[in-house]
């Protein structure tokens, strides 16, 4: 089964961004291995163990 876990974010034009492993931003870092240590959302990013339905729906549009 495909691993769809990762950080998800809905951007400014309502498109989904997906980062399975990491986000290195100028002011913060999110790592998959530390996913349970964060308080979400962080700059719009939220961890999902499986892809959210809205994301899946957006792929089929």
């Amino acid at each position: 089964m495909e691993d769809t876990a990762g950080f998800y974010k809905l951007n400014e034009i309502n498109e989904w961004e997906f980062a399975p492993n990491f986000i290195y931003a100028p002011t913060y870092t999110l790592l998959r291995e530390d996913k349970d240590t964060y308080t979400y959302p962080i700059e719009g990013w939220i961890w999902y163990d499986t892809a959210p339905q809205e994301y899946i729906d957006s792929l089929s549009l």
Binding site: I13, E17, A19, N21, Y24
Partner: protein
């Protein structure tokens, strides 16, 4: 729950059954017998209580005439020509079941006085309430002329149901010009049995929408015009014409929108206009002309039978040699007509064959004259002739000829030959939708007067090969020229097409196209939107070496070219390019793209330069083991694979323009996920990004890129220090 489904045939117009006109006079209207000579009876109502009657009479001495208004008031009229007004008390007449009351007006004369004309007039202006006249009965002698009795600009009589003329109207000149125009309730008109000196039936019954039958005076043989005579008489089925029509010069719109079903016209030796004569006679099945003018004249048949959906039988009698016919829209939308012959001895006017047979969906065969030397245009001539199986165009036309839409949607034409002698000025939509045309033959030499290939062959789904004219230097558009030509395999365009400004969707959805030779030079072309989109069989394309430097879009230009492996882009450096959105999307077998660096403005200056939207530029491309360097400015740049297994094999991407203002597109602004960029290649790209001005809230996605895992914290800081976010 039960549903009543509509019958399958409910959309078919049923022909009306021809019956004698039925007129049921309300029983509770005041009885009116036929008036004696020199008297007039009117039945009026209090729908409108104010009436003004104009009277004219002659007398031997001092006799008068009288108007008995029917309510106890009798006016004596002593002036030979005057008008008399009267106001009724609303509700004061004889009640009737229609909710109003009525009065009978009687106009009569002293012995020795002769009434020559009575009619209603409006004393204020025609915008006042229409009069409530219900019936008019003229005794002999009392109506010297019926000109303009009831018209929107004289007096409106929308409730008038019955009108009887005197038995004889002997005055000379136009007697029935616009007589009953717009009498929407008029059901019966008893015309005189004799009106031998009448010269006009112009608009006589126009818009009498309830009139079913009419008998014109049989001796009205001096009439010169039947212009609009029965136009818009929606229920009119029976018409008895005079015995002779030798002086008629126009039959324009005579029967337009009536319910006549067949007609035989007497000889019309002076008539030069049949414009819209039968337009929209939806039930007309047969028209017989006896003969036309015996000398060569210009006769117009513009729109004569337009929208005669039931017309099946129409044969032109002989014309005098060299008679000039105007045939624009003549048979348009004659959806039941199967055969038409245009006599060979006539000349078609310079108006050409504009939509002449357009919409003749059952037309099987048309015979045209072989020579039409005055005709410069065949616009939409056979448009939507769904059944037409063959056509031979005249070999001689004007010095140039426009073929705009000529054969559009002729879905049964399998072969179309444009004569070699034609000097074509436009091929705009000429063959669009000719879905069974497997052979289209164009003149082989130069066609340098042709200005358009817009949609010329669009959706010609049976066309396999096509030989284009050798040169077309004046052509300004090839947009959608071959769009949807799903069987077309090969096309060669002329080498120089420097007036073409757009190639938008030119070959889009030509799914079987395997070979295309583009012009070498298209120096004015600025639009390549979707030019080759879904050319699924195309393996290689060489774009024109020369294009306009002001090309604005290549968006989806090669999208879904699933087989393509080689694209050579123009060598012209573009300066105004704004969109490459999905330019190469789904080009799964692409190996090489030459001249990528010629796309976009190389200036680093901010301001009057564009930033290219490169969203979804190139996706899964396992054979694209190459590198790209682009010196232009981007708002978004996306070259990425889809997943770990559906990779894009590109090995290097260099974004060398250091200008400010880039990356105004949505996040992620740069996407190189699932590419084969190794760590060193990503670091080179990071260095390019670091050479640009700082950004805020911009993202680069490197998910699954070969070198993503090898980046060190120091490597990442190169771009995060410039404001970028890296995701992966």
């Amino acid at each position: 729950m039960a549903f009543n489904l509509p019958s399958k045939n409910t959309y078919i117009q049923k022909k009306p059954v021809v019956q004698p006109p039925t007129y049921t006079r309300p029983l509770d209207w005041i009885a009116i017998l036929a008036p004696p000579a020199n008297e007039v009876f009117y039945l009026v109502s209090d729908i409108s209580p104010i009436y003004t009657i104009s009277t004219t009479f002659t007398r031997l001495a001092s006799q008068n005439i009288y108007i008995d208004w029917g309510d106890g008031v009798i006016d004596t009229v002593s002036s030979l020509s005057t008008s008399t007004a009267h106001t009724y008390t609303v509700g004061g007449g004889t009640a009737c079941s229609r909710g109003y009351t009525t009065w009978k007006i009687r106009i009569y004369a002293d012995p020795g006085a002769t009434i020559t004309l009575t009619k209603f007039i409006q004393t204020v202006n025609y915008t006042q309430l229409p009069i409530g006249l219900l019936e008019a009965h003229h005794g002999d002698g009392t109506l010297s002329t019926a000109n303009s009795l009831f018209t929107p600009t004289t007096v409106l009589a929308p409730y008038l149901e019955y009108f009887k003329c005197p038995s004889t109207m002997s005055a000379a000149g136009a007697l029935f010009f616009e007589s009953f125009m717009s009498c929407g309730s008029l059901q019966i008109v008893i015309m005189p049995t004799s009106a031998a000196n009448n010269t006009s039936f112009s608009s006589t019954f126009s818009r009498c929408s309830r009139l079913q039958s009419i008998v014109l005076p049989s001796d009205s043989i001096l009439v010169t015009t039947y212009l609009n005579t029965f136009q818009f008489c929606y229920k009119l089925q029976n018409i008895t014409l005079p015995t002779s029509m030798n002086f008629v010069t126009t039959m324009a719109a005579t029967f337009q929108l009536t319910q006549i079903q067949s007609i035989t016209l007497p000889p019309l030796p002076a008539c030069l206009s049949y414009a819209t004569t039968f337009t929209q006679c939806a039930y007309l099945t047969s028209v017989r002309f006896t003969s036309f003018t015996p000398t060569a004249q210009s006769i117009t048949f513009q729109g004569t039978f337009n929208a005669c959906y039931s017309l099946q039988d129409m044969v032109f009698p002989p014309f005098a040699n060299n008679t000039i016919l105007t045939l624009t829209t003549t048979f348009a939308n004659c959806a039941s007509l199967a055969y038409i012959t245009i006599p060979d001895n006539i000349l078609v006017s310079s108006a050409g064959l504009n939509t002449t047979f357009g919409g003749c969906s059952k037309l099987l065969n048309v015979r045209l004259p072989t020579s039409m030397p005055a005709v410069p245009t065949f616009p939409n001539t056979f448009q939507n002739c769904y059944s037409l199986q063959s056509i031979t165009l005249p070999t001689t036309v004007s010095s140039s000829i426009s073929l705009v839409g000529t054969f559009s949607s002729c879905i049964s034409l399998s072969e179309i030959v444009i004569p070699e002698s034609y000097n074509i000025t436009s091929l705009n939509s000429t063959f669009i939708g000719c879905t069974t045309a497997h052979t289209i033959t164009l003149p082989s030499g130069s066609q340098d007067a042709n200005t358009s290939l817009f949609s010329t062959f669009s959706n010609c789904n049976s066309l396999v090969n096509l030989t284009m004219p050798s040169t077309m230097i004046s052509c300004s558009t090839i947009a959608t020229a071959f769009n949807g030509c799903t069987t077309l395999q090969s096309v060669t365009l002329p080498p120089i097409m420097n007036f073409v400004t757009t190639a938008q969707t030119t070959f889009a959805s030509a799914t079987n196209l395997q070979s295309v030779t583009m012009p070498v030079s298209m120096s004015a072309c600025t639009n390549f939107l979707s030019t080759f989109q879904l050319c699924a069989s195309l393996k290689a394309v060489t774009m024109p070496a020369v294009t306009s430097p002001l090309v604005t879009t290549y968006a989806t230009c090669f999208q879904n070219c699933y087989s393509i492996n080689s694209i050579t882009l123009p060598t012209t450096q573009t300066t105004a390019l704004a969109s490459m959105n999905a330019m190469f999307a789904s080009c799964y077998l692409i190996k090489t793209i030459d001249n990528f660096d010629k796309l976009g403005n190389t200036s680093a200056l901010v301001g009057n330069v564009t930033y290219i939207d490169g969203s979804f530029l190139l996706g899964f491309s396992p054979l694209f083991t190459t590198s790209i360097t682009t010196p232009t400015k981007w708002s978004r740049f996306t070259i990425n694979g889809s997943s770990a297994t559906l990779r894009n094999s590109i090995t290097s991407i260099r974004l060398t323009n250091t200008g400010a203002g880039q990356w105004g597109g949505a996040s992620p602004q740069i996407n190189i996920s699932y590419t084969n960029l190794d760590t060193a290649a990503i670091n080179l790209l990071f260095a390019d990004m670091a050479a640009m001005p700082n950004v805020t809230s911009k993202t680069i996605v490197i998910t699954g890129a070969t070198g993503a895992a090898g980046l060190s914290a120091a490597n990442r800081l190169v771009v995060t220090n410039k404001g970028w976010t890296i995701t992966g």
